[in-house]
Amino acid sequence: MMEVLQFEFMQNALMAGLLASLICGIIGTLVVVNRIVFISGGIAHASYGGVGLAFYLGLPVLPVTTAFTVFAALIMASVTLRARERADTVIGVIWAAGMALGIILLDITPGYNVDLMSYLFGSILAVPRSDIWLMVGLAALVFVIIIAFYRGFLVMSFDEEFARSRGVPVDFLYFLLITMIGLSVVMVIRVVGLILVIALLTIPPFIAERYSRSLDTMMIVSTLLSAAFTVTGLALSYITDITSGAAIIAVASVCFFLSFLLPCKKNG
């Protein structure tokens, strides 16, 4: 079993999984406590429009997808802030429109046929080294931003209205968070697929919240859980020869349901 680690593709897969765990553990915690899972799902799916656009224009995929995704994310964020009442509807529309745009653009792109499945579930076993370095860069950026504004994110996430009443720049923090979600989603999607992104953003923080007494603990526990799910899923995928992304989600989902059986230690 361990000899598999000699293969470069396996080393890359493991590193990509761990980096995705780190990014998703931190960002996912903020997604869960701010109750913005739906907008995150919208961002992840709308990013497919960026993929289509890149292939259609014949431009490099990563920069185009990043620009498109962050743009879509900021539209959703401003709708959420301005028209709270119908924000979920608008997000749902952008979610579907982005995906449809991606598929149409790929259809009319001559001579190119991208496998939709690889964007849904990713291809973690085919991650090139260059992507690993980009993920390292993004993880570092997320880390620095979170540390720089940790108090702000804490105060906003806990009680937005109180934060506003004290003059905390909540709108700035919110746009910053949404932008970080957009960047994270793009980076992680190529590796693990957009379905796995949502799973990694939500399942580990949800379980972690029940056993954490502070936001930073929750981030650390989420990252560790996420890493455990990824490694276990990869091993399972290697042994049984099932799709790696789906294996990771399966492990995470089983643990999600098992966590309800365990006592909640929080109420000490």
Partner: protein
């Protein structure tokens, strides 16, 4: 002359074309304990948000502690409605109180560490609301009344001159409710307190004046119960407003009446005179 803590003049506010507050004027003097009563949707919470600068009025002027709303920062202690805070958020009691030390603008949101001075302030605030023993506990494990005490501590940690409370006793059982009120009365010795409630039973001993808000605002300098207050709290028309819970307890005489002197045409609604 001492400047009033709150002065509102000819305030109008509407939301999506529906008028919420019309021609509201109000002056709150230093040291007052004002209860703002009114039905749900009557504009009480809107008034509070206007005072905090969370929303802007259509017209009229508001001054809080001599400043425009939203500029007084930690000089105002604010207790939002209970429902705003997520119950499962991973945080200890002490950390929650710490949030009250946040400073406005970008200075307030930067960094990880807090000073030991801030921790000391947070512990003092917890001591004042009798919750210091629970400092290390998770907030989610506390009862409704205990949580409200923690949030009052969060409002107190910045040494405010004005305390604004939005429905402080909602979701609190009646035993903790009366102890919460005596805490507020105690705090009123040092600061001005404005409390919003839809519940007439919050007209307790400590309250010094009452404002009835239902689109318009009527100010009562003394906390005596009027027919209008009953109606605002319990609904019903004229004589039909006779809440059993007040009558059976017998603490409030049935026929306490106070007409709005400037609004006599509405007297048919506030009277039980014939009974």
């Amino acid at each position: 002359m001492v400047e009033p803590v709150i002065s509102i003049e000819n305030l109008f506010f509407s939301f999506e074309g529906v008028p919420i507050l019309e021609d509201v004027s109000l002056t709150v003097e230093q040291g007052d304990f004002l209860a703002v009563l009114g039905p749900n949707g009557g504009g009480k919470s809107t008034l509070l948000k206007l005072l905090l600068g969370l929303i802007k009025p259509a017209s009229g002027t508001i001054k809080v502690l001599g400043q425009a709303p939203g500029h007084a920062g930690g000089r105002i202690g604010y207790l939002p409605q209970h429902t705003h805070v997520s119950t499962s958020f991973p945080i200890t009691v002490l950390e929650a109180v710490h949030m009250g030390t946040v400073r406005p603008g970008f200075r307030g949101i930067a960094g990880l560490a807090r000073t030991s001075r801030e921790t000391e302030k947070a512990r003092e605030a917890l001591e004042r609301v009798n919750m210091l023993d629970h400092a290390k506990r998770g907030l989610a494990a506390l009862s409704g009344g205990q949580k409200q005490r923690v949030f009052i501590a969060r409002a107190l940690v910045s040494d405010p001159e004005l305390l604004l409370l939005d429905e402080p006793t909602a979701s609190v059982d009646s035993a903790s409710r009366s102890s919460l009120f005596s805490l507020l009365t105690e705090l009123n010795e040092e600061m001005t307190v404005v409390m919003v409630s839809h519940d007439i039973s919050s007209l307790v001993s400590g309250v010094k004046s009452v404002a009835c808000v239902n689109r318009s605002l009527h100010f009562h300098e003394a906390p005596e119960l009027t027919g209008e207050m009953l109606q605002l709290s319990y609904g019903g028309e004229g004589d039909n407003t006779c809440p059993v819970e007040l009558v059976t307890h017998g603490t409030v005489p049935h026929r306490v009446l106070g007409l709005h002197t400037e609004d006599l045409q509405g007297d048919g609604q506030s009277g039980e005179d014939e009974s």
